[in-house]
Symmetry: C2
Subunit: 350 residues, 2 copies
């Protein structure tokens, strides 16, 4: 039998869910007659309010603050949905704090992070999760670090896919090097020898790590990492188009392109198709992240799944342990997975 | 000259932004010497903390709660980014409350909406914005309505792209009928006479209104609305593929497909290409929403822009007026715009 929900109780008592909630929480006056009708039904069904309802009753905050840089980047909603699914089971509600700056001015973004860190700490959330922004920096400034360390002393702070050097804050992170090795090995095993790497930002640690994974794998197979095939500074579709336009103008072109995220891969794909190339026959393209769009494109993108949902779900588990004072590992690595679709294949024979 | 920010003050004082914030807000003890150094700099630059910082100082909540059904639907992040941009200027921070149910069980989603409504009201946010969920229903149940009305009596509640019948709550909404008329007229003017409409859910008011706009326009041009070309119940890429597979099996096929959102259009496009059709030469496809991916696909999707960013921005303006007790219109309609890209063209001559 399906267990009885607040909704069922409300329906049978012919009152709103808010009213049932008020009876449970005793937060606002409810007419005596109504209150008794609701209480009778609660007894009748031996109704157990779920974890979220319980946390409301107990008047703990049950609130988690999540600070992230840009909700329109499709990677973050995927992480959030995994986080939410697990957090909800454990009775938490989350608040999202988006630090994106309209001017893409980093300093402004970090100020906003600072403001949210303070607001959340003041609101007495049970814990804070940080994604992106300063924790993505290869070398964050001293003040940016100290501030997080300060808040981390007052309440649990968990980092997803990033780090604050020397802060000792627990992190759930994708194994970036391993992911880049997967992508590079896949291309090499298909027969590619001339491989470009495009996308990312040199000041971001994910770019540094993925590029290291690529370079290491190329070297292991004795393949040359060509400087003119290594193009950074961009994570957008438009930057992908620009990277590919540059590669296509070279006298000696690569036969495969490893893109440091899927948006860049979509731009690379568009530029390749526009130039009359067939993908993957004339050019193999592999992305990174596995955002939903990766399977919407024609051809569908081969990519490296960051397992964003699992990252989020694991983060919720770890943060719950931190909140309940259980021991957690300093870093929990999530292994990316290769997702082979249609945009990669053997290079054309010469 | 660029105005001085909290960040600049922190840098020059050689302290963290959190410390400057603490001095400004007086929320936590700061060493006397440090506090004086910060205060001197504040005086020196006649530093005006921005609106957000000011609201922190004044200890108003400055918080808005946004309740929405599924952050992984790319339409919502676009609305949020417009909302955030405007809200931030006015000194608000928003909290996002995602009600998505892992089981896509609507009743569960409405329970979560109820819980968030209560939590937000208790947290004394300055106002609440609702998107999706129950406010999308063509005929929401009595309890679902009453609950929102109740909360609406206690604090400002604004609806985006939806309604609560009889509640008298202000709304910012896309003119759905007009948007469907734009799409249908575009196809007819290209020369199409045989037009299918696919996607949406019959119990949702957006589907009802868009279908009405389509039907009305077809009738105005004396064109037949064929029952077997009217396929509902789905807003996903997969449902789009299924719709197109059904259309392709018909002895008499349409020459154009109007899709009730872009995800469905992407599915329709994939099925068409898989069946060997050229888009738009053999089949014109138009979407709805104008999510970012609409311009990433090959061919790029012609679609109806809901102007999600403007919807969000306008919502922030209206909610601010509600919070500051200014008069607002009951409904502010945002006119959608036709965005002609590559997936529509004249039908092939017979």
């Amino acid at each position: 039998m399906k267990s009885v929900t607040v909704y069922d109780i409300a329906k049978e008592a012919n009152v709103s869910v808010a009213t049932v909630s008020r009876v449970l929480n005793n937060t606002a006056p409810v007419k005596k007659e109504t209150r008794e009708r609701v209480k009778e039904l609660i007894d009748k069904y031996q109704f157990q309010p779920n974890a979220l309802a319980r946390s409301l009753i107990k008047k703990e905050t049950g609130m988690i603050g999540i600070i992230l840089p840009d909700i329109t980047n499709p990677f973050f909603p995927e992480v959030l949905s995994g986080f939410d699914q697990e957090a909800r089971k454990k009775g938490y509600t989350y608040f999202l704090c988006d630090t994106v700056s309209a001017n893409a001015d980093d300093a402004e973004q970090y100020v906003r992070e600072s403001q949210y860190l303070n607001v959340l700490a003041e609101k007495q959330v049970d814990g804070i999760v940080m994604l992106g922004g300063r924790i993505d920096l290869a070398k964050p400034g001293k003040e940016l670090v100290e501030e997080v360390v300060d808040v981390g002393k007052r309440l649990p702070v968990l980092l997803i896919n990033g780090r604050i050097p020397g802060a000792g804050l627990p992190a759930v992170a994708s194994d970036e090097r391993f992911g880049a090795e997967l992508a590079t090995t896949h291309l090499i095993e298909l027969g590619h020898r001339k491989i470009a790497l495009v996308g990312g930002y040199r000041h971001m640690s994910n770019t540094v790590q993925r590029t290291a994974g690529f370079t290491k794998t190329m070297e292991r197979y004795g393949l040359e990492v060509r400087k003119e095939w290594l193009l950074h500074d961009g994570f957008s579709v438009d930057s992908g188009t620009a990277f590919m336009d540059r590669l296509l103008r070279l006298p000696d072109r690569p036969t495969a392109v490893f893109c440091l995220n899927d948006l860049v891969a979509i731009g690379v794909l568009k530029a390749a198709v526009k130039a009359g190339l067939k993908v993957p026959q004339d050019m193999s393209i592999i992305g990174y992240d596995d955002i939903p769009f990766a399977s919407y494109s024609i051809p569908e993108l081969t990519t490296v799944s960051l397992r964003a949902h699992d990252l989020g779900r694991t983060a919720a588990e770890i943060l719950h342990k931190m909140i309940t004072k259980s021991k957690v590992p300093k870093t929990t690595l999530i292994k990316p997975e290769l997702v082979i679709r249609e945009s990669t294949g053997a290079p054309a024979p010469h």
